[in-house]
């Protein structure tokens, strides 16, 4: 009887002790870059939908940050909202509501930028996600992937994206792409080569946002 009780208490203690185990390895970190340059700023409605999808899908303990792509994006100032959801589901739900409100606020006052520094955003995103120590790290780029760097912006150096998933969303075709589709295909191929060279584990392009949204978070 005593032995049995001791066993019960021990097992309960083990569970309680292990309850504080490392859950970060299972957590998902998502950093979303939203292109606000030129005409792409008009796509903010779609970006909000994607953010809402991410909020609905991410679990307690996961991290999410949304940053805008500007002339120079390697700065914390470009992060519109960031959160690491609480382990308790009820708190996580409240955090998600607050996050949604800040994104809605941002969407109303978004201003177009002159240049598009995607690489800077990638480096910033990698830094943020490395800090969160998430098990799965995904950088979502909501852009036409046409990088335009301003004068004095240097980005032609190797970057480190070891273990990252890179998802390019809503890669719209530019006017020149319609005339010569090779430009579009080359642009995507260039980016894929670049991120793979940087150590990214996956490169995913999602253009059908109605039916293929789950590819954003699903690892292959």
């Amino acid at each position: 009887m005593k032995k049995y009780l001791t066993l019960l208490i021990l097992s309960f203690s083990v569970v309680l002790a292990t309850a504080c185990g490392d859950g970060r390895m299972h957590s998902h970190g998502v950093y979303m870059l939203v292109d606000t340059s030129g005409t792409y700023a008009r796509e903010m409605g779609k970006a909000s939908k994607i953010i809402n999808y991410l909020l609905a899908t991410l679990n307690p303990g996961d991290s999410l940050a949304v940053a805008k792509v500007e002339t120079r994006s390697f700065t914390e100032k470009d992060i519109v909202a960031k959160v690491t959801f609480d382990k308790r589901p009820s708190q996580a739900t409240s955090q998600k509501r607050a996050f949604k409100n800040s994104i809605e606020e941002f969407a109303t006052q978004v201003k177009g930028s002159a240049y598009t520094d995607i690489t800077g955003g990638l480096i910033q995103g990698a830094e943020y996600l490395n800090e969160t120590k998430a098990g799965i790290k995904t950088i979502v780029i909501f852009s036409d992937m046409q990088e335009e760097l301003g004068k004095g912006t240097i980005r032609d150096f190797p970057i480190n994206l070891d273990g990252f998933r890179i998802v390019a969303l809503n890669v719209t075709k530019l006017g020149t792409d319609n005339a010569d589709p090779r430009l579009y295909l080359d642009r995507l191929a260039r980016w894929e080569a670049k991120v793979r060279k940087a150590g990214a584990t996956e490169w995913v392009v999602v253009n059908d946002l109605e039916n293929n949204m789950e590819s954003i978070l699903t690892t292959r």
């Binding site: 097992s11 859950g23 009820s90």
Partner: protein, 483 residues
């Protein structure tokens, strides 16, 4: 290819090299024939003997285990039969104590009823007073010879009084019969009461008779067990298999209940231990915590049933004094109620969390809030809460099939082990036999490889034997001639 060439005597003429190698190998194998045959026989013999030895050991061990299984099975059967007989006797005792002690009162009641019936019967038998003897007076008047008014008047008067008396007598008779009918009518309830009492007695006697028959059956089984009857042993073994199957079925159902229970409380448990914590790569801490709660409920149920002496998995609890056992029972029950209340509140929390999440999803989808049905919408919540409270008590009864499974598993495993050992013994014996025969097969196969030298050997021996025989024949004919 170069390695192959290295083995050739003449790399340019492969066929010749292979032929020479074959001849050399054949010569070597012929030279090593006797030792090789010896080796083949020794190895096969060794394998055969080892297998036979192991097989024999397995059969002996299976026999010993069978005997042990038998004694355990019979002991268990005896114990369980003794318990059943004890219970039956207890039941009979209770019937006798409860019902038979009422028998004197019942008998007295029946006697009273019988006396009352007898009295009534006697009353029925009372004859009404006979009519007055006016007939003889009439005869006397009729004998008067002188006529006249006087006799006529007299006769008229007599007629009048006779009519009157006749009427009175008839009325008396009618009243008397009426009274008898009344008495007979009053007897009806008494008869019915007697009939009812007899029926009750009959029923009680029938129950007693059934119990006696059951006891007889159990006593027969017990006698069979004590006599180590093979029929009884077989029946007990079969019973163990059936019991195990039934117990597993019930346990599987209980596991289904536990799974549902786990689903019910896993989400709210994540509110306490965190939703993103994992114990192993794919085992959430909240799931394990919910499982622990369920296991604790099952344990408390086990202790409760143990302290109620329904199950007897822990002899220590069974041998406790009544006060301690009672305390343990109350403690287990209190813990079980607390755990059930916790689970019920967790079910409520689950519903709240799900509602909150659904509301968030609506916000994210920019959808209008769902119309509330008032009382109808709270039915799932109430259902979950009730289920959360009831399931722990339902799980508590798992202890009964669990005990059954534990007890019957020993017998079933024992039987399977014995059968397995016997089967393995047969296989090994057969393999040993094959190994023994294999020696001859290998020997012949070896001889096939050196068939040419063997043929030469046979030919040479034949030649020698033939020349010796010829010489002998010649000598024999010479001696015959000389003779």
């Amino acid at each position: 290819m170069s390695t192959w060439n290295a083995w050739l005597f003449w790399p340019n003429s492969v066929a010749l090299s292979v032929f020479v190698m074959g001849v050399l190998a054949m010569l070597f194998l012929y030279a090593a024939r006797k030792p090789m045959h010896g080796v083949i026989h020794s190895v096969c013999g060794l394998i055969s003997h080892s297998m036979r030895f192991i097989s024999r050991w397995l059969f002996q061990a299976a026999e010993q285990m069978g005997v042990r299984n038998q004694s355990v099975l019979l002991a268990e059967g005896q114990e369980s039969e003794a318990v059943v007989i004890d219970r039956e006797f207890e039941r009979v005792g209770t019937i006798i104590r409860k019902d038979m002690q009422e028998f004197p009162a019942l008998q007295r009641k029946m006697m009273e009823e019988a006396t009352r019936i007898e009295d009534d019967y006697r009353k029925c038998g009372i004859v009404p007073p006979p009519p007055p003897e006016w007939v003889s007076a009439l005869e006397s008047v009729a004998q008067i010879k002188s006529g006249g008014d006087i006799p006529r008047k007299l006769l008229e008067e007599i007629n009048k009084s006779i009519q009157k008396i006749h009427d009175q007598t008839v009325a008396e008779f009618r009243r008397s019969y009426e009274e008898r009918h009344k008495i007979l009518k009053a007897m009806q309830p008494s008869w019915r009461a007697v009939e009812k009492l007899i029926g009750e007695m009959d029923k009680k006697m029938l129950t007693l008779q059934t119990n006696a028959k059951q006891i007889d059956g159990h006593m027969g089984k017990l006698e069979g067990i004590r006599a180590k009857d093979s029929k009884t042993e077989l029946a007990l073994t079969t019973s163990s298999f059936v019991q195990l199957a039934i117990s597993w079925l019930v346990l599987a159902i209980a596991m289904g209940g536990a799974f549902i229970n786990n689903k019910l409380i896993a989400l709210p448990m994540s509110e306490m231990v965190g939703a993103s914590d994992y114990i192993t790569s794919n085992m959430k801490t909240s799931d394990v915590a919910a499982l622990v709660i369920i296991l604790m409920e099952a344990s408390m149920g086990l202790f409760l049933l143990e302290s109620l002496r329904i199950t007897q998995l822990f002899p220590r609890i069974a041998s406790m004094d009544d006060t301690m056992r009672h305390r343990l029972m109350i403690a287990s029950l209190v813990f079980l109620v607390i755990l059930a209340a916790i689970e019920s509140s967790l079910a409520l929390m689950r519903d709240m969390l799900i509602s909150d999440k659904a509301s968030l999803m609506r916000d994210l989808a920019s959808a209008a809030p769902a119309a509330s049905d008032g009382a109808l919408s709270s039915i799932p919540m109430i259902g979950q809460m009730v289920m959360g409270f009831v399931l722990p008590f339902a799980l508590a009864f798992v202890a009964i099939p669990f005990e059954n499974a534990v007890h019957s598993l020993r017998t079933v495993l024992g039987v399977l082990l014995v059968q397995g050992m016997r089967g393995l013994g047969v296989v090994l014996r057969f393999a040993g036999l094959l190994s023994k025969r294999l020696a001859n097969v290998l020997e012949s196969t070896y001889d096939i490889a050196i068939v040419v030298p063997l043929m030469i050997e046979r030919w040479v021996i034949g030649m020698r034997t033939g020349s010796t025989e010829d010489r002998g024949e010649k000598e024999r004919s010479k001696s015959r001639r000389a003779a």
